[in-house]
Structure formats: structure tokens, C-alpha cells
């Protein structure tokens, strides 16, 4: 009583299936969904379809977008692009170093962002100092933009601490491992920005941006974050990095239509940006944060990108995807297209590129040196800052534990 129809339906990339039905919300005609054969072959949807907002093509050709201007004087464009190039090269470099450090046993795990540099730097550089970001665990590029030194990311992956910075000081939350949790916290923070009167026209106006992946869109917390944000017009940008994969599950497993459409169910704007185009990510995120700051939040942005490396260093992608898929996406590399544009337009010469590479190597060396020198915190760190108020039970268990440890020094341990 095997159900062949079901088996076929699962194996194909339904993405979008013609429904032939009336009524609002009938699945829109398929735009760019890959054919079933393509998906089986592992060749994912490498094109974002007509809805994709792009300023810089994979080949390095730049065309400004009428709806999403880069709010800066044209003369300052070369300086902007060279800065973004530097950001992406340096971030990719320390990310690669993180992978290597894990392989050499210096880190328990590393979560690579390879391929998502443009999606993160574009959004990170779109933020104003007073804005607040809520990351998941892969946003090393956004951390970089918020002035968090890469070495501050090492503790969580080396196992010596959970958060190495002050979230309010940096405007960048601690890494959040439980998928979706940080998105509803971001909405709450944004509700607080509005309550403080920081939504409106003033220069002090603030916004919040929540980062999450394609897999996270299935979690109830992400839904409730959007419900509350729509209910309270909260100044929060929901920034989904659709890197096509949630560990071994393709994005088709989470949704039959492109994810940016999700906002249509709540009544706020949603758009798909080329996640490998740093200029598009910058322009669209700037627009979205300004909308939120002025009271027209929330906004959903789907950055259509690709997870070039494994999910983490403990993952083996060869078990669930084809190598040729990664090859196809290499042609859309976020750094390559910027380099081609800078070189072709003469904005930058080889000396510039060499200088950046040298700086990247220096950063990687400092990153490595810091990592290998990291020490294990003292055991009583386990008891520190569990509560903000005095706590007799914590004090007692700390005292008992330290007495127990002392016992080993003089070999007459006594664990009360």
C-alpha cells in the first residue's frame, strides 16, 4: 500500500506548484524554481528569480536601483566599495582561520559564514550606531561591523564562555543557539525603542534588526515575532539569510514559495535581495531600517545567498548535497564581483588588493595567537552571575564546591 504519489511529491522541488485555484493567496506562478531533476541533481535554485533586487551583477556590473538608493555622494562611491571589499576579505579570512583552528583542536567547533559575507557586511554597515542587532550564531560579519573584535567570538566556540561582549554597548546581542528565540526578543527590544519615543523623524531615531536563517522561518517564535511587530508597528527588520540549507534540509522543506512572501501574511513589506551583492544588501537594509525608524516597521528582507561551507565543522555536506551546487554558486561569489568592479573601473589597483590581503593575514595571525593562548576560566566561574541579586543557595554551593576542590590539594577532601 506504498503511496507513490506522495513519494514523487516529496522528491520533487515543489517550490511553487501551479494550483489552478481561485482566491487570494493562490500560489503565484512559478518564477525561478528549479526543475525536479535539478533539485535531485543537487543544483539548487541559483537564481533568485524576477523579484531579486540586485545592484552589482556577479560579473561586476553596477546599476543603481530606483527604489533603493545608496544615500551617499557619487564621489564617495569608490571609498565605500573599497571599504566593503576590505570588510568582506578580512571577515572571510578570519572565518577560514576559525575552521583551521577547529581542525587543529584549538576550538571545539566553528560555524563558518563562507559565502554569506556580502549578506552580513551589507546589513551590518547599513546599521546606525544607536541601532540594535540580534544574531543567531553565524553572524561574525555583522559582529565585525558592530566593532566586535573577531577574537571576542572565540570564547563561545572554544568553550570558555557564552558571550564575550556587552550587547547594549556594541548594539549586537550575544549569539543565540536556540533557533528562533532571538527573533521574538528583537521584537520586544524594538517595542521598547518605540516606547522610549525613538521612532519618528529625529536623528536619534532607532531601529532593530533580527538575523535568522531559512530553517528558522518554520519556528513558532519567528511567527510570533512577526505577529507582535505588526501589532505594535515595531521598528524591527526581519533579516532572513536564506543560504538554501538548514543543516541537511533544503529550503524547499521549510516553504513551497520564496520566503520573502511570508510577510504578505502579516501585512508588512517583504523583499528578496541578492544576498551575494553587498551593495544591494546595504541599500535595501538602509531603506528597511529607515522605514522602521520612521514608524513604518516592520519589514522582512530575504537575503538570497548560499552556505558555501559545511553547517559547522562537525557537519559533512557530502552526505546531502552535490559538489556541483557549490561550484555553481562560486560563480556568484560576493567578493569576486566587487574585486572585478574595482579593478575594471580603476578604482583600485593591485597594490590595494595586496595591501588588503596582507592586512587579512595579519588579522588571521592575531586571531590564531589569541585563540591558542586562551586559558580555561577558573572553575568558580560556573557560579558567577547566575543571578543579579545575592543568592544564598549559589553562595553555599560555591563554598561547598571550592571546599571539595581544596580537598584534592591536601588530599582530605570534604564535600558537604
Amino acid at each position: 500500500m506504498v503511496n507513490q504519489q506522495w513519494i514523487d511529491s516529496l522528491a520533487t522541488a515543489r517550490g511553487v506548484k501551479e494550483r489552478g485555484v481561485t482566491g487570494a493567496g493562490a500560489t503565484p506562478a512559478p518564477t525561478s524554481a528549479p526543475s525536479p531533476a535539478q533539485v535531485i541533481a543537487g543544483l539548487k535554485a541559483t537564481s533568485g528569480g524576477e523579484d531579486l533586487i540586485q545592484l552589482l551583477t556577479p560579473e561586476g556590473e553596477f546599476t543603481p536601483h530606483p527604489d533603493y538608493p545608496l544615500d551617499l555622494h557619487p564621489d564617495r562611491f569608490p571609498e565605500l566599495l573599497k571599504g566593503l571589499y576590505r570588510d568582506m576579505v578580512l571577515v572571510r579570512r578570519f572565518d577560514r582561520e576559525g575552521n583551521a583552528l577547529q581542525r587543529q583542536g584549538q576550538l571545539s567547533i566553528w560555524v563558518p559564514l563562507l559565502g554569506q559575507e556580502a549578506a552580513q557586511i551589507g546589513a551590518g554597515r547599513a546599521m546606525l550606531p544607536q541601532d540594535m542587532a540580534f544574531p543567531s550564531y553565524r553572524e561574525h560579519g555583522v559582529a565585525w561591523c558592530r566593532g566586535i573584535d573577531p577574537t571576542e567570538l572565540l570564547g563561545v566556540f572554544r568553550g570558555t564562555e557564552h558571550t564575550g561582549w556587552d550587547p547594549r554597548e556594541k548594539g549586537f546581542g550575544g549569539y543565540c543557539i536556540v533557533i528562533g528565540n532571538q527573533v521574538i526578543n528583537a521584537t520586544g527590544y524594538a517595542m521598547g525603542q518605540r516606547l522610549d519615543g525613538k521612532v519618528g523623524q529625529g536623528a536619534q531615531a532607532e531601529a532593530t534588526i533580527a538575523f535568522f536563517g531559512d530553517g528558522a522561518t518554520s519556528q513558532g517564535d519567528v511567527h510570533e515575532a512577526m505577529v507582535f511587530a505588526a501589532a505594535y508597528d515595531s521598528p524591527v527588520v526581519f533579516y532572513c539569510q536564506n543560504n538554501q540549507w538548514a543543516i541537511s534540509e533544503p529550503v524547499e522543506r521549510q516553504s513551497r514559495i520564496p520566503l520573502f512572501n511570508r510577510s504578505r501574511g502579516y501585512g508588512f513589506p517583504g523583499m528578496r535581495v541578492d544576498g551575494n551583492d553587498v551593495l544591494a544588501c546595504l541599500a535595501v537594509t538602509q531603506w528597511a531600517l529607515d522605514e522602521c525608524r520612521s514608524g513604518n516597521g516592520p519589514v522582512l528582507i530575504e537575503a538570497f545567498t548560499y552556505r558555501m561551507d559545511a553547517h559547522t565543522t562537525s557537519d559533512d555536506p557530502t552526505r546531502y548535497r552535490q559538489a556541483d551546487e557549490a561550484q555553481a554558486w562560486k560563480l556568484l561569489d560576493p567578493i569576486e564581483r566587487v574585486k572585478v568592479h574595482l579593478a575594471r573601473t580603476g578604482m583600485a589597483d593591485s597594490a590595494f588588493f595586496d595591501e588588503i590581503d596582507a592586512e587579512a593575514d595579519e588579522l588571521a595571525a592575531r586571531f590564531r595567537a589569541h585563540c591558542v593562548a586562551m586559558t580555561v576560566p577558573p572553575p568558580e566561574r560556573m557560579f558567577s552571575h547566575i543571578y543579579s541579586e545575592p543568592n544564598h543557595q549559589i553562595d553555599r554551593q560555591r563554598a561547598e564546591f571550592l571546599a571539595y576542590l581544596d580537598g584534592f590539594e591536601d588530599e582530605s577532601g570534604d564535600l558537604a
Partner: protein, 347 residues
Amino acid sequence: MTTTSVSADAGTNNGHAGTARPDATPTTLARALNMGLRASMDRDPKVLVMGEDVGKLGGVFRVTDGLQKDFGEHRVLDTPLAESGIIGTAVGLAMRGYRPVAEIQFDGFVFPGFDQIISQLAKLTFRTQGKVKMPVVVRIPFGGGIGAVEHHAEAPESFFCHIAGIRVVSCSNAADAYFMIQEAISSDDPVVFFEPKRRYWEKTPLDVASHPGSTFSSVIRRPGTDVTVVSYGPSMPVLHAAADAAAVDGRSLEIIDLRTLSPLDLDPVLESVRRTGRLVVVTEAPRESSISGDIAARVTEEAFYSLAAPVLRVAGMDLPYPPSKLEEYYLPDLDKVLDAVDRVLAY
């Protein structure tokens, strides 16, 4: 199985038995909570109240009645119907510097918000080594005996006592309600605040000027010499009734109200047990892997040589809460407590 009528909880503000203070006014527990919330909101503009039906309706038990009218919709928020959303946005508001008081409408509806409580609310301060504080209060009307449909009469406090990083407290009279809610709100720790809904309309003395100091400690409500009986919130009147009935048989019960369920303030309990040698723990929560087992285990470990009998427990059975027509068989009552006193004295 009818329960004999129970006297109002004879507890007073400062935890000393004895007559009410001159300027104390009989006040319902719900009213005392309303007054306490109002006092906190008056004192600190960062205090918010949020939850389903807490604003315009004033809450299904009227505990937040009138607050939206007086403090405005921006400080008393009627939220969309989603508990993870309520706790999750409260966490975000706290990161922004607010002091949210989130209401879970009934005990059985806290579980959609359980993940945000254990993964974010309870852990953010440790995760950030103190750089982020979580001054959030989660108010939960709990306990049985109100003839309600499923999920409206449960005692889920043991789950929260098992979570490190949050405090768990329960008030059992108007004075404690008034002062404990303010202490919870002003604390920089997240506090899960259990309110015995069956007793919302019971009047006990409240003197708002009495300034009782910390109300998060265990308190001897009634001194006694033969058996120590410990509980909190919903069951306190049962303990007082049992003490009255036992006195008739010449047995003196010492009644202790824990008030804080985590971290437990066991010293007064240990001091008492070292005198009486016998302890009965009374809770509505099911027995298995619960706070009642933890109290019994810790008292036995720390006062082993004083115990003339094992610590006995009068707790809910390990069953889903029964349909309301059978709840009085399930809930701890006068007879069950007296029976436990008999048995603990029989060793």
C-alpha cells in the same frame, strides 16, 4: 469528601502570629496585588504590565483592573494571544531597560512560553556574565479548587524550581501579595510569581505602611512543638485548619509558609524540625520529581539525626489534574494533613 470550612489565613504582615496591626485593613488577595502593581508603576516609569486581556478588561481575575486607564496603553499592554511572544518580548523589553510584569492567564497556559523562560529569561544574565539583567516578573494564577475546565487548575511550580537562574515565589495572604509583588518587580532577577487563584477573594489584613523587609523568606505562621508542617500559597488555610483541629486533640503543629520555592529558605524549616523531629510537606503539585521531594531529601540530609520519622508528603497524586467534580479528592485537605500528622507521629 467535603472540606470543613477553613478559617482565613491567620498570618499577618511580619510573619508573627497574633492580632492584626491597628491600621491594617481586611483586603482581598487580588486587590492587594492590584495595589502592589500600582505602587510599583507609580514609583518606576519603567514598570510595564503585559498579557492577554490585562488592559481594557482588567484581567480575567481583575488583578490588573484600572491600571490601563490610569497608566495608559503604552504601559499596560493587551498582547496578541501567544505566550512565547509575551515572555519573548518581555525579555527584549528588559534588555532595553524596562521592567515588564507579564501575566500568564492560567497555570496550564505557561507551557507555550516554557522555552523562552528556560532558554532566555533564566540564562541571559549568566550567558553575558552579568552584562544583561532580566528584571522580569511572570505572574501565574495557579492551583485548583475553582471548578474549572482542564488546564485551569494545575500547580506547575516544580518545573520552574528545577530551572537555575530564576526565582520562584508564592504569596498566601494580602500582606504578602502586596509586598512580594513589589519586591519581585524591583528585583533585578527574573521572578516567576505564583498566585493562589482559589484565594483571590479571601480577605486578610493589609497595612501598606508596615514595611516588612524581605518577604522572600520562610516564615513561621504558627509556633508548635509536635510536628512541623510546611507549605505555601494555596494550601496555607488547610494547614491552619489542621493546626486548629490538632490542637483539640492536644497536638501542637508548627506551621511554616515557605513563600520562596526557589532558592528554598530551609533554615527556619531545619530549625523547626530539629525541635519537633517530624516534618510533613503539603503541596498540590504532583509528587514525582517535585519540590516536595526536594524539601524532604534536603531536610533528611541536613537534619538526619533529628528525624524521629521520615518526612511525609501530602501531595497531588501522579495523575493529570482530574475533572473538577473530583478535584476535592485530589487536592490536599484537612483530613489528609491530619492523617499524615497521625502517621508521622506513629514512628
